[in-house]
């Protein structure tokens, strides 16, 4: 059986950067060279990309934590990669919440019901992780293209770069090529329907 033997941090970053290639450069596009980056100031519905990102990042954080806690699924090198991913998720959440301010998504706002069956085999776990990262990457691609505020586009694009790397690493664990191309952009409606199946709101009435 082919097992991915893990990635060094350098390789991890190179793989991801290669996988993302020119797409992110394309969406970042037109800013004047050398101009100071604008701080994010989401306009109107820009908030949707970040709000979805905050919940989705927490879902993937729950995935990496569970994957790391489950004994026997991953070898030492893979566990290092997953731990790097876990740290990257924390950073992403902090960056997004800093912009969301009062709308920040707290650690107790949602609970994540990741299916236990997904952690019975390595392949199933990797599949779940990759599907979650694909949702995030899809929405960030949409945000990088359509957010009205340039600072928000920049933030979304930077997080897209990080999550694209994580997706590439998971694809390599699956035995596929890292540079299999980016997922298609996803609206928050479509991605939200998929994410909703994995989350509950603690204390919410009527099973909501």
């Amino acid at each position: 059986m082919h097992r991915h033997e893990g990635l060094s941090r350098g390789a991890f970053l190179r793989v991801g950067a290669g996988a993302l290639g020119g797409t992110v450069v394309g969406v970042l596009g037109t800013g004047a060279a050398g101009a100071a980056p604008q701080p994010p100031a989401p306009q109107g519905d820009d908030l949707g990309f970040l709000a979805f990102g905050a919940v989705g990042e927490r879902a993937t954080l729950a995935f990496y934590r569970t994957a790391l806690k489950t004994p026997g699924l991953f070898n030492a090198a893979e566990r290092r990669t997953l731990d790097e991913a876990r740290k990257a998720k924390r950073t992403n959440i902090d960056k997004i919440n800093a912009v969301l301010g009062e709308d920040a998504v707290g650690s107790k706002d949602f609970a994540f019901d990741l299916p236990k069956s997904a952690f019975t085999t390595r392949a199933k776990a990797v599949e779940l992780g990759a599907s979650l990262e694909e949702l995030l990457v899809g929405v960030y691609l949409d945000g990088a293209a359509y957010a009205a505020d340039p600072g928000t586009r920049l933030l979304v694009s930077r997080i897209l770069t990080v999550d694209g790397q994580l997706l590439a690493a998971l694809r390599m664990m699956k035995g596929g090529p890292a540079a299999a191309g980016l997922p298609i952009p996803l609206g928050v409606e479509q991605a939200g329907d998929a994410l909703d199946k994995l989350i509950t709101v603690p204390g919410s009435p009527g099973g909501g």
């Binding site: 109107g44 519905d45 908030l47 949707g48 990309f49 709000a51 979805f52 919940v55 989705g56 709308d103 707290g106 706002d109 949602f110 609206g187 928050v188 409606e189 939200g192 329907d193 994410l195 909703d196 989350i199 509950t200 709101v201 204390g203 919410s204 009435p205 009527g206 909501g208």
Partner: protein, 243 residues
């Protein structure tokens, strides 16, 4: 002589205290608590309304003893102004899209509203239900439905649910518990969990001259205690963890 004076003083104190003790506690509470609070305790005198309106009335010296708001914002504002004790969360809710049973607008999900042209009822921006609704729509990237539909803005959530129940609106954003209150005439459509803003009710004792502190504390203890949690649950509210 001293004993007589003391007795007279005591009698005076009792006489002054007696009318206050006999008066009902004044509870200012969010409209969405209209059914559950009287069911829990009939004794207080209730004033229900939009939380922002009630906050303003308390700031202007209204004779409230207890304030219960549908979002932390109003109760926390009073606390920071020194006008109420530290608020505690006692109930949780969520947003739903309410449609009339007949569904003349043919609304099957919140996304139906994208096509526009329907009569939509929402809370005003300053009232908690209005704030939550706008927050949810921004998260879902659906703020445009507020311009593509004919929107009527209400000053409290009860008016929104009434409009839908009476068929004056094709859809309205309300709390789950308000939907339950008109379930014979309406249907509730769920909204995505990931986009739900956290709807938290908070309660505090108002700080003002002449406040019935003991009465207010007793009411708040009842709301946050076993009986209150039971009543809130029976009326469809979610509950925060004990403690």
């Amino acid at each position: 002589m001293r004993r007589t004076t003391l007795a007279a003083l005591l009698a005076g104190v009792v006489a002054l205290a007696a009318p206050a003790a006999a008066q009902a506690v004044n509870v200012y509470a969010a409209t969405s608590l209209t059914n559950v609070f009287p069911a829990l305790d009939k004794a207080p005198k209730y004033s229900f309304g939009g939380s922002n309106t009630l906050q303003l009335q308390i700031e202007r010296g209204a004779p409230a003893d207890v304030f219960a708001s549908a979002s932390p914002h109003e109760a926390q504002a009073l606390f920071h102004e020194g006008l109420c004790t530290r608020p505690v969360t006692f109930a949780i809710n969520r947003l739903v899209l309410l449609i009339p049973n007949a569904n003349p607008g043919k609304v099957t999900s919140v996304y139906s509203l994208r096509s526009g042209g329907r009569r939509l009822s929402i809370g005003q921006a300053g009232v908690p239900i209005g704030g939550y609704t706008r927050q949810l729509l921004r998260r879902m990237r659906l703020s445009s439905i507020l311009s593509s539909n004919r929107v009527s803005q209400q000053s409290n959530v009860g008016q929104v649910s009434s409009q839908v129940a009476l068929g004056s609106a094709d859809a309205g954003f309300v709390y789950y518990t308000d939907g339950l209150a008109v379930k014979d005439r309406t249907k509730m459509l769920s909204l995505p969990k990931w986009a739900q803003p956290p709807v938290r009710y908070q309660i505090c004792t108002v700080k003002r001259a002449g406040v019935d502190t003991a009465g207010a504390k007793a009411f708040i203890d009842k709301v946050t205690g076993r009986a209150g949690r039971g009543a809130l649950k029976a009326y469809g509210f979610g509950l925060p963890p004990r403690g």
